[in-house]
């Protein structure tokens, strides 16, 4: 068990997913892999059948609705003075309760080196919230930059398909290096350096307090992602994602993979922001019949939407046992 969590963290920090050798597979997994190899024609027919009955975009609609609702709630709370959710994403008060973004709080604590009660309460509340809801769930369900980047990504994928541009990848480990460097810079310089360039903070404040020059930086990032490297900021730079990712390691909410249902078409990996977490869906890779997707997963549900056979599903650990 502990091994599974360690592997999930290692991959999140930038390691390549470990290829489990067949002898380590469970008997159940071995059997499923065996039958998949033997019934090729039936298997192809199943694929087509499943594709024909696919429902589209269920989780995308839900997720965008939630994301837009949360961000607009910040905006209207201020503009209409209804005071439900005051502040911006870095720190806010929901009906009087302090909520503080974990990475912003970390930066402030490291730079300032003093923690007052409100900061502690707000950070604690948000910590528990995302511990339950899955850590990086913040990224795909709340972060307004994610929303912009997601749409820029569509353009990028389109341009790549048309062969107008080509995608450039970076080593994923660089995000871990950034996380450490930004933490060190905050602690050493006494300035919250990352907050200066954080597009999450910039977009969130722009939505509440009006646009400014800072949005120019966000536009540059989006252009970089459209024309040069797919989802570069979220994949290779953003320490917020890593902070929440660590919180989500032990979260009960995650995407669950069922080997028996999988047709190994790889659609899920194509739409995924963090495809390394879906390494187990590659044919012949899954060591167990059922697997939890790792901590770096943003729980965005794109893979679930695109999977025609229900091999990927949201799961709340423990809930199945209780029910």
């Amino acid at each position: 068990m502990a091994n599974k969590y360690w592997e999930s963290v290692r991959v999140m920090l930038g390691g390549e997913p470990r290829k489990v050798e067949a002898p380590e597979f469970t008997e159940e997994a071995k059997t499923i892999h065996f039958y998949k190899r033997s019934e090729k024609l039936d298997f192809d027919a199943l694929k087509l059948e499943a594709r024909a009955h696919q429902k589209k975009g269920k989780w995308l609609k839900r997720r965008w609705s939630v994301l837009l609702a949360i961000n607009l709630l910040f905006t209207v709370s201020f503009w209409l003075d209804i005071q439900i959710l005051e502040g911006a994403l870095t720190a806010s008060r929901m009906l009087g309760f302090h909520l503080i973004d974990l990475n912003s709080a970390l930066q402030v604590m490291l730079a300032h080196k003093h923690i007052i009660v409100n900061l502690f309460i707000g950070t604690g509340t948000v910590f528990v919230l995302w511990l339950l809801l899955g850590g990086r769930t913040f990224c795909s369900w709340v972060c307004p930059y994610h929303f912009l980047a997601e749409n820029a990504e569509r353009l990028h994928v389109y341009l790549v398909e048309k062969k107008k541009i080509s995608d450039h990848t970076f080593h994923r480990g660089v995000r871990t290096v950034f996380w450490v460097l930004f933490a060190l810079m905050a602690a050493i310089t006494g300035y919250t350096v990352f907050e200066t360039i954080s597009p999450t903070g910039i977009v969130s404040r722009a939505l509440v307090y009006g646009p400014g020059l800072a949005l120019g930086w966000v536009v540059l990032l989006l252009l970089f992602e459209v024309f040069y490297s797919r989802r570069a900021w979220c994949r290779y730079v953003c320490p917020i994602g890593l902070t929440y990712g660590i919180v989500g390691v032990f979260s009960p909410l995650h995407v669950n993979y069922k080997l028996a249902n999988c047709h190994h078409e790889g659609e899920c990996r194509r739409v995924c922001e963090v495809p390394h977490v879906l390494d187990c869906v590659i044919k012949g890779r899954a060591p167990q019949a059922e697997m939890d997707i790792g901590a770096d997963c943003t729980r965005c549900g794109m893979c679930i939407d695109v999977c025609p056979s229900g091999a990927l599903k949201f799961e709340i650990k423990g809930l199945r046992k209780i029910m």
């Binding site: 973004d101 402030v108 730079a111 409100n118 900061l119 800072a214």
Partner: protein
């Protein structure tokens, strides 16, 4: 087995892959350097202090303020006159941090309780600095400041221990009082959007300055609108020709709220607030 029959080593493939690996590594290094370079650019405007910002009441000393502010803008949201604005990215590390431009909209303590301090989640704005926080003696006010608007209340003082700046008559020659002139009309013209509260109108509802015209024989706007008791007064002085005239004089209770700077009807203003400047006798 002869050497010729050995399958040719796929050197081309290996090299290509290695090359791509090397390219990727190089790209990653460049990305790292670029992001770090750009993020540290934010230090330039701060180090050069190209704009000395006046922070909201109760702000920590500037380095501590820059370290502790989480850039959420909750102070902006609670201010009844919306005196507090957030800085843009041209202020580097100060992006998203609150400041007050007194000439446009000063803090007139309309809220009575310095609500921005109450709203601050990180302790960047505080009623009283914790002992371990550095502070300067000239920023401390000698006595609890009395807010004229609640002078008759059981608790007339404002919960503030330090000033944010100090008012100063920068252009005495332009000052209407010094010239012995009166003032009639809207202090800052009809288009001015700044607001403040007037006790005689409505204690709880700030109104636009343009909705509150004055008719004064001798201009004393800075004195009559000052929200703090004993912070400013008109004092008689003799000029070099031996002629007596009145001049606005700032006293120790001044908190640097900036109302005098906002209301001064001459352009540019005759009186300003020096941000983060303390009192010296």
């Amino acid at each position: 087995m002869t050497t010729e029959k050995k399958p040719a080593a796929p050197t081309g493939v290996v090299n290509k892959r290695k090359l791509e690996e090397r390219r990727k590594f190089l790209r990653t290094m460049i990305l790292g350097a670029a992001v770090l370079g750009i993020s540290t650019l934010g230090y330039i405007p701060v180090a050069s202090a190209w704009r000395v910002r006046m922070r909201p009441p109760g702000a920590l000393e500037e380095p501590d303020f820059l370290a502790s502010c989480i850039k959420c803008g909750q102070c902006v949201q609670v201010c009844p006159v919306q005196a507090i604005k957030l800085d843009d990215i041209d202020h580097g590390f100060g992006v998203g941090m609150p400041y007050i431009d007194s000439r446009k909209q000063a803090c007139d303590f309309s809220c009575d309780a310095v609500q921005c301090i109450l709203a601050c989640p990180t302790g960047s704005l505080v009623y009283k600095k914790p002992v371990y926080m550095p502070s300067r003696s000239e920023m401390k006010v000698a006595n609890p400041p009395i807010l004229l608007a609640k002078e008759k209340d059981p608790e007339p003082t404002l919960n503030l221990k330090e000033r944010t700046g100090l008012a100063r008559l920068v252009r005495p020659d332009a000052c209407l009082a010094v010239q012995g002139k009166g003032f009639k009309g809207q202090a800052r013209g009809a288009d001015f959007k700044g607001r403040m509260r007037f006790i005689e109108v409505d204690r709880w509802k700030p109104i636009r300055l343009s909705d509150h015209p004055f008719d004064l024989e001798l201009c004393d706007l800075c004195v009559r609108t000052c929200p703090i008791k004993g912070a400013i007064s008109l004092q008689p002085v003799l000029d070099k020709d031996g002629k007596k005239h009145m001049t606005p004089t700032v006293h120790e209770p001044c908190l640097g709220c900036g109302v005098c700077e906002m209301i001064c009807p001459v352009e540019p203003t005759a009186i300003v607030v020096d941000a983060r400047k303390g009192w010296s006798a």
